[in-house]
């Protein structure tokens, strides 16, 4: 191997592949898979008529899994032998793609913004009035909610380096604030939206105070617990939140006072249009787009302000911050509360859009997904978060569109059931391919002569 690399002009030719080593590696991987599959896959459980648990052996599935791992590992080992001198294991994008995108990020931002603004029109033109609803609601609105949540959490995790596993708590606070205040006091959406944000920020501070002394793993555990506490309160305090049953009939947002319904005062009638449920969806789409852009605008602004620099400095070295006169307590609290505020906005929007909320919507899995969006996107990067949200949320929504797979795998096949499997697989691939997230480099907030991006291995991830 050393000889071939020392003579670059000589063509490598058919390099001698070490089949035995590859087989050994593949055999080992298959063996590990077998060990893992026996308890997990080998027996399916079901209840029979008498409520007795019956075990169905599924050795064929185990054989499939082991076989796939064996062949995959074998091919990968061969590929690695052939490309030992190449750094990257998987390269399906040409070298420098991300650098190119980053250099032209302004152009792409404008392009992306243009696409987002015209998306409903494109959807209506392509899918028609009937089909567009699904695209705008399931894809547009759903993805944008997660983009916004990702950007909000990015302030806490990406900039300030405080690992927060309970972000969904603030989402829940925002959602329940809107739902309860709108239902019980009949306040309008436009008053309650900022109020939900403020209430969530207040809870962010409440969480912030006890956890200020904690760092790293301990901080993560306490925030995780906080998220669960909020959910358990919502479940158990039935008089307040109606428990598991949730809150239904939440007032929907109106178009500055004009409701979206089929009545004479409705949006369609006032503007002389034919009634369609699509108008409300389009309105919601633009609403969440505006909220997401507000989040992006504020976090970009904050990064260039002293508070944003203090967040990033805190992520780099807390002790040095204290020696420079930065009040680390206040700095952490602002990060928590501003992050929570955007979570609250998103929550208020969520409950206004759904019309029904229950604690089921605010489980730990949601926190994990939002955190995964931030981590996969690259901590601190708005573009990275947006791409990760599109891939993860859009990807899982796309699974619903894959009904044609039933023709191949039989009628029992439900692609949405594989959501978590694909999710986990995507995480593993990204972490091998780009361990610090899709966009891991850091943009300096100011510069004297030339703006140079800072490579990820210099940037600290924060210790909480």
């Amino acid at each position: 191997m050393a000889q071939t690399s020392s003579t670059p002009n000589a063509t490598p030719g058919p390099r001698k592949l070490d089949l035995k080593a590859a087989l050994k590696e593949a055999g080992f991987a298959a063996f590990v898979t077998l060990g893992l599959c026996i308890p997990i896959i080998a027996w399916g459980t079901r209840q029979n008529m008498d409520n007795v648990l019956v075990l169905d052996p599924r050795w064929d599935a185990v054989a499939w899994a082991v076989g796939i791992v064996f062949v995959g590992r074998f091919l990968m080992a061969l590929r690695q032998q052939g490309k030992a001198d190449r750094k990257s294991l998987v390269r399906f994008l040409p070298h420098g793609t991300f650098a190119f995108f980053q250099r032209n990020s302004r152009v792409f931002s404008l392009f992306g913004l243009g696409f987002l603004v015209t998306f409903p029109i494109i959807a209506i033109n392509l899918a028609g009035w009937g089909g567009a609803l699904k695209w705008i609601d399931n894809f547009g609105v759903q993805i944008l909610i997660y983009v916004m949540l990702g950007w909000g959490l990015n302030i806490v995790v990406g900039l300030a380096g405080l690992l927060d596993l309970g972000y969904v708590a603030f989402y829940a606070v925002g959602a329940y604030s809107y739902a309860l205040l709108a239902k019980n006091f009949g306040l309008s959406f436009w008053i309650l939206l900022p109020m939900s944000g403020i209430l969530a920020a207040f809870w962010g501070m409440l969480l912030g105070f006890p956890v200020l002394r904690l760092r790293g793993d301990y901080l993560a555990i306490v925030t995780l617990a906080f998220g669960e506490i909020i959910r358990l309160i919502l479940i158990n305090w039935v008089e307040f939140s109606n428990g598991y049953a949730g809150i239904s009939g939440i007032p929907r947002p109106s178009f500055f006072g004009i409701p979206f319904n089929a009545s004479d005062e409705g949006f369609a009638a006032v503007f002389g249009l034919e009634f369609s449920p699509l108008y409300r969806t389009i309105f919601l789409y633009y609403l969440i787009l505006a909220l997401a852009l507000l989040t992006a605008f504020v976090s970009l602004r904050l990064r260039r302000l002293p508070v944003g620099r203090a967040w990033e400095a805190l992520r780099e070295d807390e002790i040095a911050c204290r020696s420079l006169g930065i009040n680390t307590t206040n700095t952490k609290l602002t990060a928590f509360s501003i992050g929570a505020m955007f979570g609250g906005f998103a929550g208020a929007f969520f409950s206004a859009r759904q019309g029904f909320i229950s604690p089921e919507s605010f489980v730990f899995m949601e926190s994990a997904i939002i955190l995964a969006i931030v981590v996969l996107g690259g901590m601190g990067s708005l573009w990275g978060c947006a791409i990760a949200a599109i891939v993860m949320i859009g990807g899982t929504e796309l699974l619903r569109e894959l009904d044609w797979l039933k023709a191949i795998f039989g009628n029992d096949f439900d692609p949405t059931k594989y959501r978590m499997l694909i999710f986990g697989f995507a995480m593993v691939v990204i972490m091998i391919w780009k361990p610090r997230g899709l966009i891991s480099t850091r943009e300096p907030t100011t510069f004297l002569k030339e703006k140079k991006t800072i490579s990820a291995d210099m940037v600290q991830e924060g210790h909480g």
Binding site: V307, S323, L324, I326, P444, F447, L448, I454
Partner: protein, 284 residues
């Protein structure tokens, strides 16, 4: 105390400072002064408690006993043992560097110097509220902050590397950048923890020049911990020697150099003399 006129008061007066960690007394009844415009050196063998004294002065530790008074030119004085660390930097104007360099490695050299000006910039940005809305004079104030950073970058000869991440700089440059960052907080007293550690003779010489110019041009008093005797003897006006947490000598470099107790602490003495010297020092 009241009889001492204001302008004669020392900049920093440490009285009966004691710091205990459980059963270990790291600093024992230490009293010394750092005068305005002086370079005061704190020396002593390894483990003598020098860094502990620094951590007490800059608020990273709360001393077990003792009083530390910092008197500014304006006449306002601060009791450092009662203040949290960030207020010591912001209000009492005491800045420090660290034995193992603590720069913000993932931020550029310029950003490092801007973070050091956090508090004035924070006020200029209306505690973020006005800054987010783009109201107020934050932009012009930030330009001034950048000018100040440029001044220091020129002084430490790093202006060409202003846009590089701090972690990318060579060791000697990182040391000087840390000093410049501390100076960006406009301190009246700069505490340097082994600024010459790991520097080669030429870098060490440059450092002396920088420190002397800080004292002369800016008027900041310096308090430094140093093992490099060439730095200590060459630039300091006043040396305090610590051994096992206790002050064993205090005076000009020449006086300290000739002090038998200092020689004993650094070089050791014959076994017969140990008891005599320890009795004299008060350790026995």
């Amino acid at each position: 105390m009241a009889t001492v006129p204001l302008h004669d008061r020392p900049l920093l007066q440490v009285e009966h400072l004691t710091m205990r960690f459980g059963g270990l007394t790291a600093v024992n009844d230490l009293s010394f002064e750092a005068r305005k415009g002086d370079i005061t050196a704190l020396i002593g063998p390894n483990g003598a408690g020098k860094t502990t004294v620094f951590n007490c002065i800059t608020g990273f530790y709360k001393p077990t006993e003792g009083m530390m008074t910092l008197t500014q030119d304006s006449g306002s004085s601060y009791l450092l043992e009662r203040m949290p660390d960030f207020r010591i930097s912001w209000k009492a104007k005491v800045a420090r560097t660290f034995q193992n360099i603590r720069l913000f490695g993932g931020m550029t050299v310029l950003e490092n110097l801007l973070v050091a000006q956090h508090n004035p910039l924070m006020i200029a940005s209306g505690f973020t509220f006005l800054g987010v809305l783009g109201i107020g004079g934050y932009r012009s104030r930030e330009k001034e902050a950048i000018e100040k950073a440029k001044f220091w970058l020129e002084k430490i000869n790093l202006i060409d590397r202003a846009d590089d991440p701090a972690a990318d700089l060579p060791y000697g440059d990182q040391r000087r950048l840390e000093i410049a960052r501390a100076m960006c907080t406009d301190p009246v007293l700069l505490c340097l923890d082994e600024p010459a550690a790991g520097l080669n003779p030429r870098e060490s010489h440059d450092l002396n020049t920088l420190l002397l110019s800080i004292r002369k041009d800016i008027g900041t008093a310096l308090l430094l911990i140093e093992h490099d005797m060439s730095v200590v003897m060459e630039i300091s006006d006043h040396v305090v020697v610590l051994d096992y947490g206790t002050k064993i000598s205090d005076g000009t470099p020449a006086e300290v150099k000739a002090d038998p107790r200092v020689i004993a602490a650094y070089l050791g003495v014959d076994d017969e003399e140990v008891a005599a010297v320890e009795a004299e020092v008060g350790l026995a």
